[in-house]
């Protein structure tokens, strides 16, 4: 090795030391109210970053993420998105033409690194690359709070490893929920549009909700419906049983349920259809009190 190389190596070592010292100085100036990697840190130590959705007048939400719990919560005072324990360089958040797109990206993909958005999504600094494994042992969540005045046309969620929860939503919204390895919970939600659910390895819970139509496929897991109105059921369990109010009726069922509601009704209402197929698991249908 020539002296020139040795000189440059010494210079490089000096630069590294100076850089590390500056980083330590910058890091020591941060605290919980103004942390280094997020907007705020809560009492449990979760790093939380929020983005307001108020001004965008959202019509569609499209979420495609891995290893994240997604919660859509309606009837909130304000519309906003809360990202909890997720490194900023591992997801892409963009709102374009009233449509919110949220997706997990490869942090080392050059196209995702160079992303300058008008909103707050996009490049967030090199410091996030130093803490890529910071949230490995924590539960990552994306919570989207929707105010009653928001009129959403569709919500499409696809999660690879994690649960999907939709609750307290009111409006004519089309739902398309896919959980590859996780549970899907749909409760206290009213929509005149259809709900499509696909759970490959996990349970599906439909609780006291109203939908214009439901089409579900559960491959490995159980499904539990708590119906508060009459539906035309058409369900099949390939290796499981169907229980209607704790009564085992076999592997398939086709008919209106609850039947009592149909007999008593003064008005004749055409029941909405629920079609489903469970590959491996049981279907439990209860009537809400």
């Amino acid at each position: 090795m020539k002296p020139t190389s040795i000189i440059f190596m010494i210079l490089a070592a000096i630069l590294i030391v100076v850089g590390v010292v500056v980083c330590i100085v910058g890091g020591s100036m941060t605290d919980n109210s103004a942390p280094l990697l997020c907007d705020v840190t809560d009492a449990e130590g979760n790093d939380i970053t929020t983005h307001s959705l108020k001004e965008f007048d959202l019509s569609d939400i499209d979420i495609d993420m891995k290893n994240v719990e997604v919660n859509i919560i309606g009837q909130s005072t304000e519309s906003y998105i809360e990202v909890k324990n997720i490194n900023k360089v591992t997801y892409d958040f963009v709102i374009n033409k009233h449509k919110l797109d949220l997706s997990t990206v490869n942090p080392f993909n050059i196209s995702s690194m160079v992303k300058f958005r008008e909103n707050e999504g996009g490049f967030g600094g090199l410091r996030h690359y130093l803490y890529l494994g910071r949230y490995k042992d924590k539960v990552s969540q994306v919570n989207i709070y929707i105010a009653p005045d928001e009129e959403l046309g569709s919500i499409k969620i696809r999660v690879k490893d994690g649960d999907i929860t939709v609750k307290n939503m009111i409006g004519n919204t089309l739902y398309d929920l896919t959980a590859v390895n996780g549970n899907v919970v749909y409760e206290n939600t009213v929509t005149e549009d259809t709900l499509t659910v696909s759970a490959k390895k996990g349970n599906f819970t439909f609780n006291t909700s109203s939908v214009g139509g439901l089409d579900f496929v559960v491959e490995n897991g159980n499904s539990k419906f708590t119906l508060n109105k009459q539906y035309n059921l058409s369900c099949q369990c390939e290796s499981g049983k169907i229980y209607l109010d704790d009564e085992n009726i076999g592997e398939s069922y086709a008919g209106v349920y609850p039947e009592s509601a149909a007999a008593e009704g003064a008005e004749i209402v055409v029941p909405r259809a629920i079609k489903g197929k469970i590959t491996s698991g049981d279907l439990v249908v209860d009537t809400a009190e």
């Binding site: 090795m1 020539k2 190389s5 440059f8 190596m9 210079l11 490089a12 070592a13 000096i14 630069l15 590294i16 030391v17 100076v18 850089g19 590390v20 010292v21 500056v22 980083c23 330590i24 100085v25 910058g26 890091g27 100036m29 941060t30 103004a34 280094l36 490049f123 600094g125 090199l126 410091r127 130093l130």
Partner: protein
């Protein structure tokens, strides 16, 4: 004919020429000196015949006659030189150079026209022979006598100069102007005398007595120097050549090169058995040889690929590292106005990234340019070892086949 018989025959032949006994003895002693340099085995390998001895005896007798004639002419020459150079009287008598050789030496070292290198080399061979001959002619006794005379002359000259200096100093102590003038004149004489006798430099009676063009020792030295500078351009015997690296080593700056000495391969003539075996085994040996060559080819390609890979990695590191470092510093600078801790942290990351980039790049560069090319040498050495081994194998096979014959 061994050495003793040779010398006895030579003495007999010289006696036939009616040379004086002392001249015969000295001539035989000279010849003995010559043939003593050759071992008995070598002398016996190329024995001299009666005719050779007769020819040598005739040459010696001719030279003896020439020397006699020169001695006769010497008194006249001595008288002529006595008027200008009195020191010659003190000098020992040196055998006069034959006329033809003298003119030849003068021609070689005359400053009028620089001779062509080819001419110099031709003439050098003759000059060397002459120098050797002259050195052999002067016996040890004469040489020591000459040295003693030189020393005596030097001592007497120094004594005279010291005496004059003492006188001058003694007279200079007096304040008499005449004395001072006398001292000055004495000083001038002293300076003249010293200049005339070359004591100011180094007193050399031979130098003052003889023309440098006539001195064989100077001619030999000059010839040596000329030979060093002409051997590089001409094809002379390898033992006379001086390596250019050795000349450079005098400076001390040039790197020392190891001189590779190639071992001479023993040449063994192949027997019919060997050639038959060689041809019959060609279907096996040719693919084997090609496979070995292919292995070395793959090794060379692998080393080249490594160099290219490391160079590419270095370029990529420099490009990406520089870009990221700049992004970090610029983004940090912009963030400083929004949130100072984040801005400082980003600047720090940028600087550290610059350092890491530089460090990794220097390491990759040195690996690609300095360390990996050494693998070529390793492959070369391995190749030389393998192919040398194959060569030795065939040589041994040739020998063994030759023994079977």
């Amino acid at each position: 004919m061994d050495k003793i018989v040779f010398l006895a025959t030579l003495a007999g032949k010289l006696t036939e020429y009616q040379m004086p006994s002392d001249a015969i003895e000295s001539s035989v002693a000279q010849v003995k000196g010559y043939i003593d340099r050759v071992s008995d085995a070598e002398f016996a390998a190329d024995p001299a015949t009666e005719e050779d001895v007769a020819a040598i005896a005739k040459d010696i007798y001719d030279k003896y006659l020439e020397a006699k004639q020169a001695e006769a002419a010497e008194p006249e020459q001595a008288v002529a030189t006595e008027t200008t150079e009195p020191e010659i009287e003190e000098m020992p008598e040196i055998e006069e150079i034959p006329a033809d050789e003298e003119t030849m030496v003068q021609e070689i070292f005359s400053d009028d026209e620089p001779p062509a290198p080819e001419e110099i080399i031709e003439q050098l061979v003759v000059t060397e022979e002459y120098a050797e001959e002259n050195a052999a002619v002067t016996s040890d006794e004469e040489f020591f006598e000459m040295l003693a005379k030189e020393a005596e002359g030097e001592r007497s000259e120094k004594a005279r100069i010291e005496e004059l200096e003492l006188k001058a100093l003694a007279m200079a102590n007096k304040d008499d102007p005449e004395t001072v003038a006398q001292v000055l004149s004495q000083d001038e004489k002293l300076v003249e005398m010293v200049a005339a006798s070359d004591i100011a430099e180094e007193f050399d009676p031979i130098e003052t007595a003889f023309d440098p063009a006539e001195r064989p020792d100077l001619a030999y030295e000059e010839a040596e120097v000329t030979r060093v500078f002409t051997t590089a351009e001409t094809n002379i015997a390898p033992d006379l050549m001086i390596d250019k690296d050795e000349l450079r080593r005098v400076d001390g700056d040039a790197p020392k090169k190891k001189k590779k000495i190639k071992p001479e391969r023993e040449k063994v003539k192949g027997s019919p058995l060997f050639w038959t075996l060689f041809i019959l085994t060609l279907p096996i040996t040719v693919p084997l040889f090609l496979a070995i060559c292919a292995v070395f080819g793959v090794l060379y390609v692998a080393v080249t690929a490594l160099i290219i890979a490391f160079t590419g990695a270095m370029i990529a590191t420099v490009a990406c590292g520089t870009a990221l470092a700049l992004v970090g510093i610029i983004y940090g600078a912009t963030q400083c106005f929004k949130a100072l801790p984040i801005g400082l942290f980003e600047i720090g990351v940028g600087i550290a990234l610059g350092g890491v980039t530089m460090l990794v790049s220097v390491l990759l560069y040195n690996i690609a340019v300095r360390f990996i090319p050494r693998l070529y040498k390793v492959v070369n050495r391995f190749g030389a070892w393998v192919f040398g081994g194959i060569g030795k194998l065939y040589t041994n096979l040739k020998k063994e086949c030759g023994k079977k014959k």
